[in-house]
C-alpha cells in the first residue's frame, strides 16, 4: 500500500512523453470526425466509448462513405485485434486483482498505456504495478478526451471549402509506412491495395474486408516461408 501513490505518479510521468504524439493525433481526429459528417456529440463520445485511435479514424472515414454499420463494426474489431495480444501479455501481472480493477485496466489498455506499463512490470514493479498502469492509462485517457474536444472546437472554425476529408487517407499513409519493415509486410500492404481496387465494386464495401483479410493471409504465409529474421 505504501507504494501505490508513488507508483501511480510514476505511471503518469512515464506516459507524458508519449503525449507528444497522442495530442496532435486526438486533435486531428476531432477535426476529421466533424469533416466526415459526425455531429460534435458523437465525435466526442466515440473517444470514450471506442477509445482506440486508429479505429476511430477508420470509423469516421467509413461513416462518411455511408458504409453499412455491420461492416464498420467488423472493421473496428479487425483493427483492434492486437489488443488481445496486450491482454494476454499483462494478464499474469493482474491475475490477483479484484474484478473491478481488471475491468478498469482493460478499458484503459491502449497501445500507449500498454507500452509503458509492460516495461514497468518487466522491471519488477509488481505489488503496486497496477497503480502505475492506472496512472499511465488515466493520463492517456484524459489527454485523448481533451485533445478530441480541442479538435472538434477547431474543426468547427475551419472553412468548409478545405479538403479536410483528405487528411484521413493521409493519416493512414503515415501509419502504414513505419509498418512496412520487411518483405512480408510490404507484400501484405501491396496485395491488400490491389484486391481493394479489384473488389471495389462489391456491395456493402465488402471489398475492404476481403482486401484486408487477403493482405493479412499473404503476409503471414510469406513470413512462414522466409527464414526467420530475414529483412529487406
Amino acid at each position: 500500500m505504501k507504494n501505490s501513490k508513488g507508483s501511480f505518479w510514476a505511471g503518469v510521468r512515464a506516459e507524458l512523453p508519449l503525449l507528444i504524439g497522442v495530442v496532435p493525433f486526438g486533435m486531428i481526429y476531432g477535426v476529421l470526425a466533424l469533416s466526415a459528417g459526425l455531429a460534435p456529440a458523437p465525435a466526442q463520445l466515440m473517444s470514450s466509448i471506442v477509445f482506440a485511435g486508429s479505429a476511430q479514424f477508420i470509423t469516421a472515414q467509413l461513416v462518411r462513405d455511408a458504409v453499412p454499420g455491420l461492416v464498420i463494426v467488423l472493421t473496428i474489431a479487425v483493427v483492434n485485434l492486437r489488443h488481445m495480444l496486450y491482454s494476454a501479455s499483462v494478464a499474469p501481472y493482474v491475475r490477483t486483482l479484484p474484478m473491478r480493477w481488471k475491468v478498469m485496466l482493460s478499458y484503459l489498455l491502449t497501445d500507449e498505456a500498454y507500452a509503458v506499463t509492460i516495461l514497468n512490470y518487466e522491471k519488477g514493479d509488481n505489488p503496486s504495478g497496477h497503480w502505475f498502469f492506472l496512472g499511465a492509462g488515466l493520463t492517456l485517457w484524459t489527454s485523448w478526451q481533451i485533445s478530441t474536444a480541442v479538435g472538434i472546437l477547431l474543426g468547427a472554425t475551419l472553412p468548409t471549402s478545405w479538403p479536410l476529408d483528405f487528411a484521413l487517407p493521409i493519416t493512414f499513409i503515415a501509419l502504414i509506412m513505419p509498418a512496412l519493415k520487411d518483405r512480408p509486410a510490404i507484400a501484405a500492404s501491396f496485395s491488400a491495395g490491389v484486391v481493394a481496387l479489384l473488389a471495389y465494386g462489391l456491395p456493402y464495401k465488402l471489398g475492404l474486408m476481403l482486401a484486408g483479410v487477403i493482405g493479412i493471409v499473404v503476409g503471414t504465409v510469406l513470413e512462414e516461408r522466409t527464414s526467420p529474421g530475414e529483412t529487406l
Binding site: 477508420i58 489498455l109 487528411a167
Partner: protein, 104 residues
C-alpha cells in the same frame, strides 16, 4: 445502423478484446500463427482503405497527373518515408493537395 449502435458494438468488441485474456487469467495462449498474423493487420487494412481513396475518382480508376489526390498521396508517402513523422506527413500531403488545387 444507428451511429450510436455502431459505437456501442465497436466499443464493446474493443473492450472485450482488451479484457478477454485478463479475464481468462492467462489460462489460454494465443496461437502462434495468429500472433504472427496480427502484425499484418495495420498495413493490410489501412492500405485497403487508402488505395481506392487515392486511385478511384468519380467511380473510375484514375492514374494520371491530373488526379490530385493521388499526387498528394505520393507526396505523403515520400514525406512519411523520409521523416517517419505523422504530423509532417499529414501537413505535407495536405499542402500538396491544396497547392495542386490552387495552381490548376
Amino acid at each position: 445502423m444507428n451511429i450510436w449502435l455502431i459505437f456501442l458494438l465497436g466499443g464493446l468488441l474493443t473492450f472485450g478484446m482488451r479484457f478477454v485474456f485478463i479475464y481468462l487469467l492467462g489460462r489460454f495462449e494465443i496461437p502462434e500463427t495468429m500472433r504472427r498474423a496480427l502484425r499484418f493487420v495495420p498495413p493490410a487494412v489501412l492500405t485497403a482503405i487508402v488505395v481506392p481513396e487515392l486511385l478511384i475518382q468519380s467511380g473510375q480508376i484514375d492514374v494520371s497527373w491530373m488526379n490530385f489526390r493521388l499526387m498528394a498521396g505520393v507526396v505523403a508517402v515520400l514525406v512519411a518515408w523520409r521523416t517517419k513523422n505523422t504530423l509532417l506527413t499529414i501537413l505535407g500531403g495536405m499542402a500538396g493537395l491544396l497547392l495542386l488545387e490552387f495552381i490548376f
